[in-house]
């Protein structure tokens, strides 16, 4: 299973993108998107903002997902908050911190 993870700013702009594969069941943590799927990833992610936005303003909750994904999100969120507490970070700026990237990768290995 391959994952494409992105954090998106308030103007639909990508703040952070990361592709990785599963580390469970003998996976090596590498993303294996087909050529066809890969170039659509960003489009699909962008278009799913419609749904996210609707949920955000109606129920305010994310739909029930797998426990593993939820844990992954929680851990990444914690690190994200820490990362953007940097005094040099401005809102909607791309997150370039290599430490953050490492931590996301670690969370991915741990849960997915």
């Amino acid at each position: 299973m391959s994952y494409y993870f992105a954090i998106i700013g308030t103007q639909d702009n990508p703040l952070f993108e990361y592709e990785f594969g599963t580390s469970k069941q003998g996976g090596d943590g590498q993303a294996r998107f087909g050529e066809q799927a890969r170039h659509l990833n960003q489009f699909i992610l962008h278009s799913s903002l419609d749904i996210v936005e609707e949920l955000q303003w109606t129920t305010g909750q994310l739909p029930q997902t797998e426990e593993a994904i939820k844990n992954f999100f929680n851990e990444v969120y914690e690190n994200y908050v820490k990362a953007i507490m940097s005094p040099f970070y401005k809102a909607n700026q791309e997150i370039k911190s290599p430490i953050f990237r490492q931590k996301v990768a670690a969370a991915g290995r741990k849960y997915l």
Partner: protein, 840 residues
């Protein structure tokens, strides 16, 4: 006595009326078509386009342009010819483009709903629940949906597809007379376009006696005994090879539809290349330039109005629905009535009519046993105004009325041929409901002529008749429909409802299927099916694969279909619903699929009284059963595609969560690869429209699906590019831009590097495909730049986009470059002005 039971009503006074009205109107100086100068399609016929120095191999011929009118004339100014022979209020006001109707409708309705209840569809669903889909759409509450009046709107297509079929069986002398008027195929060809819209309003009573009036009632004229599809015994295990063959046969219709749409698309591509090559477009505005201009206008319009129905999708749907064969599992294409016509030239008229009658009830040409033979016979005497003796004809007509009852008409036609130079000529439009095979044959014939390169062989496909003839035929059709066909159908519905369906609806009927009831109870026609294997308690002839027309199931199906055609959705729905279980018990899968399909469709159209969740679940189950039975059990690709696409369209019109459901069905069709490449791309385009229909609320448009719509537009563009349809791909891309521009965010998807690269790649491919070949790019290309830019600004002014800067790129440029050669320049300006007014 060949007619049905004698009607108790007195003889109608309208027969003599119709006779007296025609002479008075004959000299009315009304030519419906406008002067040629304002009509690019007709003027192009005489242009020396083909003899120009720049010739493309299969360039669009001017005459061919008329063949492609159905997709060309989309969004051209409303001042072209009326598409229906029914008279309109006035030449100028009669038709307006779908877009202006929509915009004015949207403006006139102040939206009271959005903040009531849950804002995301819930509120509007509650409000819509009590109204039938027709009312919902007509009242304009449906955000950006097209109105029912628009010719390309899927709901109106659906209503006009499932209409009573009237078979025409004319004697040789009638066809001879009509052939003299220039109609090779006889009376059928002459009458056919007049069935597309019955003049005036038609009032129909439903099963409760409530009258409802319809503006857009239509019938379909077919030739008697044509298009019959034999039922197949559903025995896949026994004859696997035969099954494969039949499967192949089933796909034929779908493939034909694809090919027709492909031809239209190819014509648009050629037209574009032709006009783009700088071939003295401004000096001689040919059909090709007109086509390209129309395409560019449509592209500009499409970017502004993201929910417009693509003309190609409308064509696809229309051709899919117009090829409905006479098959056993549904009775829509079965004749409701049969017109038997003789002419005043016939030496022994009454005998001729009797012979015609015998043809339809016995002998070689009679219909198969699964078609009800008790359809209405309507007797027509065609009087030759120029050579016939009217007193003799009137006497004969009186005699006909005495012998055959009330269902008679005297049709007075002139026998000579009308030409365009005649004062009172009327161009007979081509029927909107040609079957795909017919249209394909037409196009191929014209291409063959072109290939032969014989200028003299050019034949203007337009046919003209005298205005008086048109009036007479309109009166005839209206009278037949309102006084004979509709009352007969109403009577049949009420009789069948009382005698057959009510038994099934009763308490005991609910526990026992029709077959069983009739097996143990009443005196029915059970003996006829005893030969069938395992037929101990069923009316279904499993070996032959059909119910006989007199079996209660078949009668119920006709009842439901009649109710559907008369737009009594509730009765139709409940009857289809009863049939579903019966057919399933009998393992009559094709019947089962069709009953499920129609239950879902009528349920979607009728007023809703369920909660939206139950409703959607019910409809999903029904459509699922229909798809499974059609596709897997019967291998009927046609049925599968039809049921899902119509279900999808109606779900979309229901709005709210229906839109998401509609897209889910679309994705399912795409994934199961039911469609060919053209259908695939069209459906992707359509899913974009679906998502764009879903209107959000609040200043931020929460709950809208613009990003998703844009994604589908991109996917559609990719699919078109794969087939080399660059014009269409360019249109999709510009539509995607328009959609992204609606999202109240800076930048859209272009902030994503990967996505930006993909988009850039697609655009480059479109540009490459649309660029005129270098060798034909003459000096005409020089002046284009400046004028093109002017046009470009106009286009972007018109589109009130927040991010119009983006549109200055290739797509706008291409569209503008085409506009520059438009002969319709002024017309387009007007159109734009009116469109802007509409938006306020």
């Amino acid at each position: 006595m060949p007619t049905g039971p004698p009607s108790p009503s007195p003889p109608s006074p309208v027969h003599p009326l119709s006779v007296t009205t025609s002479p008075s109107t004959r000299h009315a100086p009304s030519r419906r078509s406008l002067p040629p100068s304002s009509d690019p399609l007709s003027s192009s016929v005489t242009l020396p386009l083909r003899s120009s120095s720049v010739r493309r191999p299969a360039g669009p011929s001017p005459a061919a342009a008329t063949l492609f009118r159905s997709t060309l004339s989309f969004n051209t100014p409303p001042t072209t010819r009326p598409s229906s022979p029914a008279p309109s209020a006035g030449p100028g006001t009669a038709q307006s483009s779908p877009r202006s109707i929509m915009s004015s409708g949207a403006r006139s309705v102040s939206l009271p709903l959005p903040l009531a209840g849950s804002i995301f569809g819930g509120g509007s669903l509650v409000a819509n629940r009590q109204a039938s889909l027709l009312d919902v759409v007509a009242s304009g509450e449906e955000g950006g949906a097209n109105t029912t009046g628009a010719p390309t709107d899927p709901l109106s297509l659906l209503l006009k597809a499932f209409v009573p079929h009237v078979a025409i069986h004319a004697s040789e002398d009638v066809d001879e007379l009509v052939r003299e008027k220039g109609f090779k195929m006889g009376l059928w060809e002459l009458l056919r376009p007049f069935g597309d819209k019955v003049q005036g309003r038609v009032t129909v009573r439903d099963s409760n006696g409530a009258a409802k009036t319809w503006e857009d009632f239509a019938i379909r004229f077919v030739r008697f005994g044509e298009g019959i599809e034999e039922p197949e015994p559903p025995e896949p295990s026994v004859n696997g090879g035969a099954e494969d063959a039949s499967r192949k046969g089933k796909t034929d219709l779908v493939r034909l539809v694809e090919r027709v749409v492909e031809m239209h698309l190819r014509f648009a591509e050629h037209a574009h290349a032709y006009s783009g090559s700088g071939e003295d477009g401004t000096a001689s505005p040919g059909a090709a330039a007109a086509a390209a201009a129309a395409a560019a206008a449509a592209a500009a319009a499409a970017a502004a109005d993201t929910t417009a129905t693509s003309p190609y999708f409308a064509l696809y749907l229309r051709r899919l629905l117009s090829g409905m064969p006479v098959s056993c599992h549904e009775t829509f294409a079965h004749p409701v009535a049969c017109v038997m016509a003789i002419s005043s030239r016939n030496p022994s008229p009454i005998e001729a009519l009797q012979k015609l009658y015998r043809d339809t009830s016995q002998g070689e040409r009679r219909l198969p046993p699964w078609v009800g033979a008790d359809f209405l016979r309507y007797y027509v005497l065609v009087h030759d105004e120029e050579n016939g003796d009217i007193t003799k004809s009137l006497a004969l007509f009186e005699q006909m009325k005495r012998s055959f009852g009330l269902h008679c008409h005297l049709l007075r036609l002139r026998s000579s041929r009308s030409v365009i130079s005649d004062d009172d000529c009327f161009e007979l439009p081509r029927s909107d409901w040609m079957t795909p095979a017919e249209e394909l044959a037409d196009i191929e014939a014209s291409e063959a002529l072109l290939a032969a390169d014989d200028d003299d062989a050019f034949e203007d496909p337009a046919r003209y008749i005298f205005e008086s003839d048109a009036t007479a035929i309109r009166t005839f059709v209206r009278e037949m429909v309102t006084q004979s066909i509709v009352p007969t159908m109403e009577r049949n519905v009420s009789v069948w409802n009382d005698q057959v369906a009510s038994r099934r609806r009763g308490l005991s009927g609910r526990f026992m299927s029709l077959s069983k009831r009739f097996a143990f109870g009443s005196s029915s026609s059970r003996s006829s099916v005893l030969g069938a294997p395992g037929a101990s308690n069923t009316n279904y002839d499993a070996a032959a694969g059909f119910y006989r027309a007199d079996a209660p199931e078949a009668i119920m199906r006709r009842l439901a279909d009649y109710a559907f055609m008369l737009r009594d959705w509730k009765l139709a729905m409940s009857t289809y619903d009863l049939l579903r279980t019966d057919f399933s018990n009998d393992k009559a899968w094709r019947y089962h699929a069709a009953a499920n399909e129609m239950t879902a469709l009528s349920l979607l159209i009728m007023p809703q009284n369920m909660s939206s969740k139950t409703r959607i679940e019910t409809i999903n189950t029904l459509l699922d059963q229909a798809l499974y039975s059609y596709h897997i059990r019967c291998g009927s690709l046609y049925g599968a595609i039809r049921s899902v696409i119509l279900g999808l369209e109606l779900l979309r019109l229901r709005g709210g969560s229906g839109v998401d459901e509609a897209v889910r069905w679309g994705v399912r069709v795409l994934e199961s690869r039911l469609l060919g490449p053209i259908g695939d791309a069209l459906l992707k385009e359509r899913l974009a429209v679906c998502y764009a229909t879903k209107s959000g609320s609040g200043s931020q448009g929460w709950g809208s699906r613009w990003r998703k719509a844009a994604l589908w537009s991109v996917l559609a563009a990719e699919a078109w590019l794969g087939q080399g349809k660059c014009v269409q791909a360019g249109r999709c891309l510009s539509q995607a831009r328009g959609l992204w521009a609606k999202v109240p965010r800076e930048g859209g998807v272009a902030q994503w590097r990967g996505a930006r690269e993909v988009l850039g790649g697609l655009e480059a491919r479109v540009k490459e495909g649309l660029a005129p070949p270098m060798e034909v790019l003459g000096d005409g290309g020089e002046g284009e730049g400046i004028e093109g830019e002017e046009e470009e600004e106009e286009v972007s002014e018109m589109l009130d986009d927040r991010r119009r800067g983006r549109r200055q790129s290739l797509i706008g440029g291409v569209g503008a470059g085409v506009l520059e050669t438009a002969p319709l320049g002024e017309g387009l300006e007007e159109e734009r002005a009116s469109a802007q007014d509409g938006f306020g």
